[in-house]
Symmetry: C2
Subunit: 295 residues, 2 copies
């Protein structure tokens, strides 16, 4: 069975599970022992945060999470370095770069205000927003992750935050790169290369980063469809330019620069993938005053 990402039908954030067996049977967290479910090629579909690592920090809407390996289960101390190649760590790195949602389960954890006192609570979907390495409290290198709760209407915050993160209080968000299961399919089809310029943004050990661009925008009022006929795999530069009206696509599937009117490139296509003419026409109509007559 293919690995399942997202919240299973019939499961709610905040739901209680008595033990790992119940988590397994509900498809919330399949492994009975491991804290991270997933592989480097698939990504990670779920994790359990349960206080097994001294470097973990739980802030409710975000979690600083220690990766897998080098831990002595009896003392819960690190006894060896961790590596990003270890299965669970490689899985979470792939989840970050691919934008995959991770189910977070909280188990009992004395250091966390958000943990249940016994059993397990499904806490909803989180995204892996960064990974890094550091010297852990026990002196060995650990692989660390920051996971942030995904801003979805269905997400139930386990409890109010007790502490703010001062650095974020003064920030605004100028762009959100939204991702969907279908967008991830299209990015994969193009091996994370840009259909306009061919660029592949390299990150870690050959994992490339690209973005799924909806030609007719998702959400109100445009209500573009989340399907292959409305999706392109683009590099961040061409994605931002497309979204901001600096780039248009003609009916001949040529990308044009909106300011100069010059052709940038023909789009590159893989077998069995085309976007609908109606979607590129809708996108052009969004900026009628700046769309050139010859498009």
């Amino acid at each position: 069975m293919a690995r399942f990402f997202g919240t299973p039908d019939g499961v709610q954030p905040g739901q209680y599970f008595a033990d790992r067996r119940e988590l397994h049977e509900a498809f919330v967290h399949r492994p009975l022992q491991a804290g991270i479910s997933g592989t480097g090629s698939d990504g990670a579909d779920s994790i359990v945060v349960s206080g097994g690592y001294v470097d973990d920090e739980d802030y409710g809407s975000y979690i600083i999470y220690t990766g897998h390996g080098g831990n002595d289960p009896s003392s819960k101390r690190q006894v060896a370095d961790q590596t990003p190649d270890a299965r669970g760590n490689a899985a979470l790195i792939t989840s970050m770069i691919r934008g995959l949602p991770v189910r977070v389960v909280r188990g009992p954890h004395k250091g966390s205000l958000f943990a249940p006192t016994r059993g397990y609570v499904y806490s909803g979907l989180y995204s892996v927003s960064s990974w890094w390495t550091q010297a852990g409290r026990d002196g060995f290198q650990v692989v660390m992750f920051r996971l942030d709760a995904i801003d979805q209407r269905t997400h139930v915050e386990p409890a109010p935050l007790v502490e703010n993160d001062p650095a974020f209080l003064t920030t605004t968000v100028s762009r959100r790169i939204r991702d969907t299961a279908m967008a991830r399919e299209i990015k994969k089809l193009y091996d994370h290369s840009c259909q306009i310029c061919g660029t592949q943004i390299g990150t870690f050990e050959g994992r490339a980063y690209s973005e799924g661009a909806h030609v007719r925008p998702l959400g109100r009022p445009h209500l573009g469809r989340d399907d292959a006929s409305n999706l392109l795999s683009l590099c961040p530069n061409h994605h931002s330019q497309l979204d901001l009206g600096g780039l248009f696509i003609s009916d001949e599937m040529v990308a044009f620069d909106a300011n100069t009117g010059a052709a940038v490139s023909e789009l590159r296509w893989r077998k069995r993938h085309r976007v609908d003419l109606s979607n590129v026409a809708y996108h052009r109509s969004l900026w009628r005053p700046i769309t050139r007559a010859n498009m």
Copy 2:
């Protein structure tokens, strides 16, 4: 006085103001008549949503907002086309491309569940997430904006949402481009060009788009500083690569590709701007297993 962006000291989201004069005196919305405060070169610092336009739609956490012009104040109908060059519209377009926060004030509006029945309520900061043109309900071209509430701890949601946006329920956010006042200064200093490759992403009428990249990450656990010594102006491609560990900066301020170890480019600098060596060293240390020995 320079235009002020953000929430003034002493003002709270949810605060009531009896009339436009009170909004003016509290520095919440300075103009006594106009719905949009700002100019094309500065950006828009505030708007009033008050039901003057038939194409407005208020969903609480986001607003579909009609731009300025072509409106007959007595009938509230459109009687002429709007253009993106009109002062208020140009201001909101600049706010979108630059990532500036916009103060949103709600006035009485029969079509909105979130509007007060009389007077004005300050609803906090929103970001302009897109703009486009469309044929309005009255048959003339209108310039439209979507504004989304900024996810800040200080933001008070006026009321629960009554409707979900189905297209967003299945999406996850894989990257958030965070912006700060200092990041906007640095982007401006470089005229929105990338310090690694020189690229300027063109959008509309010469407005370029770039991103402010914090070298040592903001937020827990890294707690990088939001100041010029920790900021670069980058194109989205190099920003994502820097954040994902695919790019490192040496003490000689040369950007290196983490996968190949090859030098990409010396960084370009404007007068009076340098980043601290400690910040590029911190960034390199984040991915020690993949940082080359020669860096």
